[in-house]
C-alpha cells in the first residue's frame, strides 16, 4: 500500500491537488482512498460532488461502538474512497485530538484492511499546529509527505514550518519528505524560487500546477479537472504528477531553513515583485 500526506498553508490548493491526483491514480486502475484531515471537511467535495458526513459527525451521533464503515466511507469519482475526519466547531474542543480519533476509528472499523486500497492520501490542515495534526506523520500511517506551496512568502514560511514537524518524525525514521508541489497560482509565479527553496531543504519539486481557469470552473461545479475536462492539458499535468508521486522513492529528512535563510528567500521575492511593478 502506497501512503502519503499532502500538507500546505490553508487555501494553497491542497484539496485541488489531492482530489485530482486521487482521480488520476484511480483512472490508472488503482484502488484509492483519500482522507481529509481538516475540520473544514471540504476536501472530498470535488470527488463526491457534495459534502459527506464526517467520521466525527457519526462518532458524535452514535458513539464508537455503533459506527459502521459505510457511514463514513463514500465512493467518489472513478471509485475513489472518500473520508473526512471532520472536527469540532471553531473555538471549542480539540480539533487535533479529532484527527487522532478519526484515524483510530477508521483503522478500528477496518477501512485499510477491508477496502484494501493501493493508495491512501491524507490531506492535512495548513500547519502542524499541534500533535494531533501531526498524527498522519506518525505510527507508519504514511511513507512520505508532499508540501504544496506557491511563491508567496507566507506559503513558503508555512512549508518550512511543516518541514520542522517532518524532521522531528523523520529523525525517528517514521516518515520522510517526498518533495514540494509548486502551485503557480500567486502574484509572483517564479518556479526558480521554489526550486531554490527545495534545494535548501534537501528535496526537489515533484511537479508544477500552472494557474488555470479550468481548475476554478471545475471546482465551481464540485468536480475534479479529470472529470470536468479530462482531455485538457491541466488534467495531464495532474496525471503526470500523480504517477511521479506514486512511484517516488527518493525520500529525505528535510533541513528546515533558519530565519536568516528564510529572509534571503524573502529578499529574492521582493526583487521579483519590484521588477514586476516596473
Amino acid at each position: 500500500m502506497r501512503k502519503f500526506c499532502v500538507y500546505g498553508k490553508g487555501g494553497i490548493g491542497k484539496s485541488t491537488v489531492v482530489s485530482n491526483i486521487a482521480a488520476a491514480l484511480a483512472e490508472d486502475g488503482k484502488t484509492v482512498m483519500v482522507m481529509g484531515c481538516d475540520p473544514k471537511s471540504d476536501m472530498t467535495r470535488n470527488l463526491v460532488g457534495k459534502r459527506i458526513p464526517t467520521v466525527l459527525d457519526v462518532f458524535r451521533a452514535k458513539g464508537p461502538d455503533e459506527m459502521k464503515l459505510e457511514e463514513i466511507v463514500f465512493e467518489g469519482f472513478n471509485g475513489v474512497y472518500c473520508v473526512e475526519s471532520g472536527g469540532p466547531e471553531p473555538g471549542v474542543g480539540c480539533a487535533g485530538r479529532g484527527v487522532i480519533t478519526a484515524v483510530d476509528m477508521l483503522t478500528r472499523l477496518g477501512a485499510f484492511n477491508d477496502l484494501a486500497p493501493d493508495v491512501v492520501i491524507y490531506d492535512v490542515l495548513g500547519d502542524v499546529v499541534c500533535g494531533g495534526f501531526a498524527m498522519p506523520l506518525r505510527k507508519g500511517l504514511a511513507d512520505d509527505v508532499y508540501i504544496v506551496t506557491t511563491c508567496d512568502p507566507m506559503a513558503i514560511y508555512a512549508a518550512n514550518n511543516i518541514c520542522k514537524g517532518i524532521k522531528r518524525f523523520a529523525d525517528r525514521g517514521e516518515i520522510f519528505l517526498g518533495g514540494l508541489i509548486y502551485n503557480g497560482r500567486s502574484v509572483v509565479d517564479e518556479p526558480s524560487i521554489i526550486e531554490s527553496f527545495a534545494a535548501r531543504l534537501g528535496t526537489r519539486v515533484m511537479g508544477r500546477i500552472p494557474m488555470s481557469e479550468l481548475i476554478s470552473r471545475a471546482e465551481i461545479r464540485h468536480k475534479t479537472v479529470l472529470e470536468y475536462a479530462p482531455n485538457s492539458e491541466i488534467a495531464d499535468i495532474f496525471r503526470v504528477l500523480a504517477l511521479a508521486i506514486f512511484e517516488n522513492e527518493d525520500r529525505k529528512i528535510p533541513e528546515p531553513l533558519s530565519d536568516d535563510e528564510f529572509d534571503e528567500i524573502n529578499d529574492e521575492i521582493d526583487v521579483l515583485l519590484r521588477g514586476k511593478r516596473r
Partner: protein, 379 residues
C-alpha cells in the same frame, strides 16, 4: 509521589461535608479521587462527575458540564456545589465560567481550575481553600476560639485525630470554631468568628487571606504527634491566646510503662519516613521519643525513585508512609506503618484510636509494636 493540583483541590472541596463536589474530568481522574476518599467513609457519596470521554475531548466538554450541573443541582440537597476542573478541560480550553453563568442553579457554585499539570497537590489545596473563602462572612469574634486549618476528609485517622485535638484544646478552655477542611458549609462560612487560625502543615494561603480580609491572625504549628509534640502544640496555642494551661496533667505514661521492655528493645531501630507535612513531626516523635534512628526522611513532593533507592541503600527495618509504600516494604520484607494519605488498603473507623495527641502517641506506639511483633507470622 504527588497527586497534582486536581487532587489537592478535590480534597479541599470535599472537606466541606455538606457540599457536593462536581469534577469535570475523564473517568480515571474521577475514580482516583473518589477511591481515596471512600475507603474509610463509604456512605459519604456527595460526588458527581461529567465523566469526559473522547467525544467531550474532541467537541468540548461544555455541554457535558452544563448537563451535570443541572443534574447535580437537582439530585443533591446541599448548599454548595464545588466544581473542580482537571487536566482535560484545561487543555482543550472549556469555558467553565461561561457555562456556570449561563444556568440558574439553586445552590451556591464555586469552581476552580485545578489542572494537575499546573501545580502540586499542596498548591491545589491552598488555591481551592482561597476560592472557597469567597463564601465566608464577617462575624463577631468568639473569644478563645480557633480554626484548625490543614485537614482533609481522606487523611488517615482524620476523624479520630480531630476528636483528640478538640478534646485537648477544649480541656485547655479553647473552643474549636471550624476544622478546615472537614466541616459543614455553615461552619466554613462562619470561620471568621475565630480568634485565631491554627495552620497545621498546610492552608497558609487561606490563613493569609483571612488575616487580610477578616483580621484573623494565624499561627503555624506542627501536627501534634507524640507527647512532646502535643505538649508544644497545645502550649503554643494557649500562649498565643493568653491562656494558662497545664498539659503535664494530661500526660499519662502508664501505658508506656506497661510495654517498657519492648520499647527498650526497639531503641535505636533504623526507620524511614515519607509523607506530606505529617512526615517531619512523626519522624521527630520516632526519633526523640521512641529513640528510633531516622535513616531516610522524604517529602512526597520529592523524587520517588530517589527515595526508594535511598531506602534500599539504608538499614531501614520499619517504613512509615502511605499505601503507596507497600511495594517497597514488601520488596525489603519490612513492616509498613500507614499514617499518611493516601491509605486505601486499611480502614480507620474507630474514632477513639487517633495517632495525634496524647492518646495518639499511645495508639501509634501500639501499632508500631504490633506491626513488628506480628511481622512475617501470617501478616
Amino acid at each position: 509521589m504527588d497527586g497534582g493540583k486536581f487532587f489537592g483541590a478535590f480534597r479541599a472541596c470535599s472537606g466541606i461535608r455538606d457540599a457536593v463536589v462536581l469534577t469535570h474530568v475523564p473517568v480515571g481522574c474521577n475514580w482516583g479521587a473518589a477511591m481515596f476518599k471512600t475507603t474509610s467513609n463509604q456512605s459519604d457519596i456527595r460526588h458527581a462527575c461529567t465523566v469526559m470521554h473522547e467525544r467531550e475531548i474532541v467537541f468540548g466538554g461544555e455541554e457535558a458540564l452544563r448537563k451535570a450541573l443541572i443534574r447535580a443541582d437537582k439530585l443533591y440537597n446541599t448548599p454548595l456545589l464545588a466544581v473542580v476542573a482537571g487536566d482535560a478541560p484545561a487543555i482543550i480550553g472549556d469555558d467553565i465560567e461561561a457555562v456556570i453563568d449561563s444556568i440558574a442553579l439553586k445552590k451556591e457554585v464555586v469552581w476552580m481550575d485545578a489542572a494537575g499539570f499546573k501545580g502540586t497537590m499542596r498548591e491545589g489545596y491552598e488555591e481551592a481553600l482561597v476560592h472557597l473563602a469567597q463564601m465566608m462572612k464577617e462575624r463577631n469574634v468568639i473569644k478563645k476560639s480557633v480554626n484548625l486549618i490543614g485537614f482533609c476528609p481522606d487523611d488517615f485517622k482524620v476523624d479520630a485525630d480531630i476528636k483528640e485535638i478538640k478534646r485537648l484544646l477544649n480541656s485547655a478552655g479553647i473552643r474549636v470554631n471550624c476544622v478546615i477542611s472537614n466541616c459543614s458549609f455553615d461552619e466554613f462560612v462562619n470561620a471568621p468568628a475565630a480568634e485565631l487560625n491554627v495552620v497545621m502543615g498546610q492552608g497558609t494561603e487561606l490563613a493569609e487571606h483571612m488575616k487580610k480580609a477578616f483580621g484573623v491572625p494565624y499561627l503555624e504549628v506542627d501536627y501534634p504527634y507524640g507527647l512532646e509534640g502535643t505538649k508544644e502544640f497545645t502550649n503554643t496555642i494557649c500562649e498565643h491566646l493568653g491562656i494558662g494551661c497545664d498539659t503535664e496533667q494530661e500526660f499519662d505514661l502508664e501505658p508506656f510503662k506497661r510495654i517498657y521492655l519492648y520499647l527498650h528493645e526497639l531503641y535505636g531501630t533504623p526507620v524511614s519516613v515519607i509523607g506530606d507535612f505529617h512526615a517531619e513531626p512523626i519522624a521527630h516523635f520516632l526519633d526523640c521519643e521512641l529513640g528510633f534512628d531516622i535513616e531516610v526522611l522524604a517529602s512526597n513532593e520529592d523524587d520517588y525513585f530517589t527515595f526508594e533507592q535511598n531506602v534500599r541503600n539504608s538499614n531501614t527495618t520499619i517504613l512509615f508512609g502511605s499505601s503507596f509504600e507497600r511495594n517497597i516494604a514488601d520488596e525489603l520484607r519490612i513492616p509498613l506503618i500507614r499514617f499518611v494519605y493516601p491509605v486505601f488498603d486499611h480502614v480507620c473507623v474507630y474514632e477513639d484510636a487517633p495517632y495525634a495527641g496524647f492518646r495518639g502517641a499511645v495508639c501509634l506506639t501500639e501499632a508500631i509494636l504490633n506491626a513488628v511483633m506480628s511481622f512475617g507470622k501470617g501478616r
